[in-house]
Amino acid sequence: EKKNQPAADSNQGSNEKQVHVAMVLKTLSSQYWKLVAAGAQDAAKKYNVKLTLLGPNAESEVVQQVNMMEDALTQNPDVLAVAPSQPPTAIPVFQKAKQKNIPVILVDTDAPWDDKATYIGTANKDAGKQGGEYLASLLQKGDKVALLEGARGNTAMDDRIKGAEEALAAAGIQVVAKQPANSDRALGMNVMQNILQSHPDIKGVYSANDEMALGAIRALQQNKKNIPVVGTDAIPDAVKAIIDGSMAASVAQKPYDMGYLAVEAAVKLAKGETLPKYINSGTELITKENAQAKLDWLNKTLSR
């Protein structure tokens, strides 16, 4: 997991003045974001960085997030790292940061701002492609599938859906239904139940995040339908589902690495180094083969 840490820096960090990194995420109230936080905290320990972690209680709290960035800036950190819920809304604060000469790192979700120090995260469209391709590989040309979107305006998830659509189209697979389930399990189940009414003949499902995928799987099981469901994020419950065979696969992002790399990058910036505009934290397709290993690692990382 952490193979891509440059060992060189590790011993130096300590003897300089402590670097202060303020990190504002979309929310801290979900496992995905706890993993980002965990990565950041580990890196902070390693490089003796003062880390301020903030995030509203839901990804929909856009202005709350903006307020948190402001509140973070009042503490004059050396670097600001942000995962913007609505990318454009963050830019005015980024400008403020720039005036204060505080470099800005984007995490998990990119924003249209040229002065960013770097964006560290998944190439969401590719992630969607990856999921779509795998789903296609399990189906025949002409089969019908359904897509589950995230909450409206969640650009990261929208990109994944786009990617998946392309991959599926390329494989000659038909998308007959596309509904958002707002990353909510219960809603995912309802939506899938209803989709099954109008399209009893679907052969597969791709979901932009695992919560919805797991809900969809309940609806399928209830209808005694055993068709492949591919999700995104590989959260523990999803990985368990992959192990017990009820879920086909999940495109894992690497939230832990995002957090870790972000702090690492912050330390470099503090030293005046410059960074590439985009650092791909990479993805990993989780299937039956590698699921157990992933689960063990997740449990280890999340259990503290």
Binding site: S29, Q31, N57, A58, R152, A186, Q193, I195, S198, L214
Partner: protein
């Protein structure tokens, strides 16, 4: 006098239609909606789909029972969604993580829900907070916070059959959750209309001061009302856990609005004392039917939001028109 006596039967009727037949208005709206949908989508009237609706309506329907009581006493309970989340999360931790026996875990879940409800009641009756809106807004946040804290936002899953039963099992084609709804509402109907406590709840809603001066312990009644509301929220939580075989800390987010909508569409008044439990059930079903129908018609999510708003207003308006008509009839 004779002009009065002649029309007496008419009066009783018009009177009833105002009081007990309130729900008929919502019913009318529901029927209209169903007709439209069954014309637009052949899938709508299939047994299979109707059972889906039954299942999907049940969670909101169960929460709406408590919400109805709160609104009947001129109050409100914003904390239902959070209570649902916290009590199911606790059950999850007890049962899945700590291996507590399922039945005990279920009891813990329901008891916790009731206690959280009682807390709302006490904040209202002992601290005399001005309106339950404020106290339940407070507990709404507190309970949500705790639900997130206890597992650090991690969902809990892998519940035994026994716990999933209410939400996942079927009796023939009928979801057990809907049978639960039927039982719950029948019981409530009886409780509200045939028991002293039920009457007292209506009385307190209609005029708290007069109730107090008639010897009713208003505070006790209000505590009871909010305790029930917390209990039904937890009960709905059990169903949700059964449906998705997991408890998660953000469960029930925003459910209060759906429940309130069900109660109001069902003809209850925010000023207390008026409304019927039957109307609330119809309101809950109407909302579920609407969501289901729009999905069947594959209406884009954005337009769905719009249509739901429009139908909520339409459904209530139909009721107004019906009442006007009833009045006219009573007069002529």
């Amino acid at each position: 006098m004779n002009c009065a006596t002649e029309t007496v039967p008419a009066k009783n009727k018009s009177l009833f239609s105002k009081e007990t037949l309130y729900n008929l208005g919502a019913l009318l709206g529901l029927v209209l909606l169903c007709i439209v949908l069954s014309i637009l989508s052949p899938k709508f009237l299939t047994l299979d789909n109707l059972m889906n609706i039954a299942g999907q309506a049940s969670i909101n329907a169960i929460i709406a029972v408590g919400m109805f009581l709160a609104i009947l006493t001129a109050g409100i309970d914003l904390s239902v969604g959070s209570i649902l989340a916290l009590s199911t999360m606790v059950m999850g931790v007890l049962n899945v993580n700590l291996g507590l026996n399922p039945i005990l875990s279920i009891l813990a879940c329901l008891t916790l829900g009731a206690l959280l409800g009682l807390t709302n009641g006490i904040l209202l009756t002992r601290l005399n907070l001005p309106h339950p809106f404020i106290s339940t807004l407070g507990t709404m946040n507190m309970a949500r916070g705790l639900a997130l804290v206890i597992t650090g936002a991690a969902p809990v899953s892998g519940f035994p059959e026994s716990i999933q039963f209410l939400g996942a099992a079927f009796a023939g084609p009928i979801p057990v959750s809907f049978i639960l709804v039927a039982v719950l509402y029948t019981g409530m109907y009886f409780f509200l209309n045939r028991t002293t406590i039920g009457r007292y709840i209506y009385a307190v809603g209609g005029n708290p001061e007069a109730s107090r001066l008639s010897g009713i312990d208003v505070k006790k009644i209000l505590n009871l009302v909010y305790t029930i509301s917390g209990f039904t929220a937890a009960l709905a939580g059990l169903v949700l856990v059964g449906r998705v075989n997991s408890a998660y800390p953000l469960a029930g987010l925003g459910y209060e609005l759906d429940a309130i909508a069900a109660v109001i569409i069902g003809g209850a008044s925010f000023f207390g004392g008026i409304g019927t439990i039957g109307g609330t059930l119809i309101g809950a079903i109407l909302i579920a039917v609407l969501r289901n129908g729009l999905n069947l018609l594959n209406v884009s999510a954005d337009w769905q939001t719009f249509v739901i708003g429009a139908v909520i207003i339409a459904a209530v308006y139909v009721d107004i028109l019906r009442q006007r008509a009833a009045k006219k009839k009573a007069l002529s």
